[in-house]
């Protein structure tokens, strides 16, 4: 699993994840994901288009970071999940907790609203 964090300006960060969000994948990127997003109080959008697997560990990572960001008055939104990933997010009722959007433009509107 690879992670890239980009500053987009206007208090917004973009995260691009590539690979599998299984247990080894999450263990490999979670420290950088947390330290890259939680401090600073900036909103963030996460590109899931290159993530081809997610399980409960990855979902819990997003929930935990979203909760911590909320305490810093910032929002998190994910976008462009692959179909099988999207199904798992639905199974976990994830959308009730963190927005999952169609694309970067929608995710940006959601976190900046």
């Amino acid at each position: 699993m690879q992670i890239e964090i980009t500053e987009l300006g206007d208090g917004l960060r973009k995260v691009t994840l590539t690979g599998r969000l299984d247990t080894p994948g999450v263990l490999g990127i979670e420290p950088r994901f947390v330290t890259g997003l939680v401090p600073g109080g900036k909103n963030a959008i996460v590109d899931l288009s290159q993530v081809d697997f997610i399980a409960s560990m990855g979902i819990r990572m997003f929930i935990s970071v979203a909760r911590n960001m909320k305490e810093h008055h910032a929002k998190l939104a994910l976008y462009a999940p692959q179909p099988r990933v999207d199904e798992v997010l639905d199974s976990a009722a994830f959308r009730q907790l963190v927005p999952v959007c169609k694309d970067a433009a929608e995710a940006t509107r959601v976190v900046q609203s």
Binding site: F53, S56, I63, R67, R84, E87, V88, L97
Partner: protein, 137 residues
């Protein structure tokens, strides 16, 4: 007789290798994407639970996973020598309605239940956990 048998220590390093081996075995089977994903998901959730909770700090815990491909089904059998645990007895919490209430456990088992056609468990005479999960292919 199982089509694929993986035996490995209950560590996350060994799990990563076993997971790659499972995916290699699945590559040869050409399962439809939906059932294939469910097989990988059940493997991830059950094995990571065994490592994290069933075996804990026991460095000598071993996991064996057998995968059998039948007509319209994939059957995964998990065997480990960790603490007794019947996942059917675990009460999964209601879906949280707020971020503050989320992430307190049970999500992995919820996903396994939703992905599976059936789940069977026994504690064997050899004092092993034996879990059988059937997925519709």
């Amino acid at each position: 007789m199982a089509d694929c048998v993986l035996t490995f220590p209950a560590t996350f390093d060994a799990y990563a290798k076993a997971s790659a081996e499972l995916r290699g075995a699945l590559d040869t089977r050409r399962l439809p994407p939906g059932p294939r994903y469910k097989v990988e998901l059940v493997f991830e959730e059950i094995v990571s639970n065994i490592i994290r909770h069933g075996c804990g700090r026991n460095d000598h815990c071993t996991v064996e996973v057998s995968v059998g491909f039948g007509a319209g089904t994939v059957v995964l059998e998990f065997q480990d020598d960790g603490q007794p645990f019947d996942p059917r007895d675990y009460a999964v919490a209601d879906v949280p309605q707020a971020l503050e209430d989320a992430g307190h456990g049970g999500l992995g088992l919820l996903l396994v239940r939703k992905a599976s056609a059936s789940i069977d468990y026994e504690r064997t005479g050899q004092d092993l956990n034996h879990l059988t999960v059937t997925i519709t292919a």
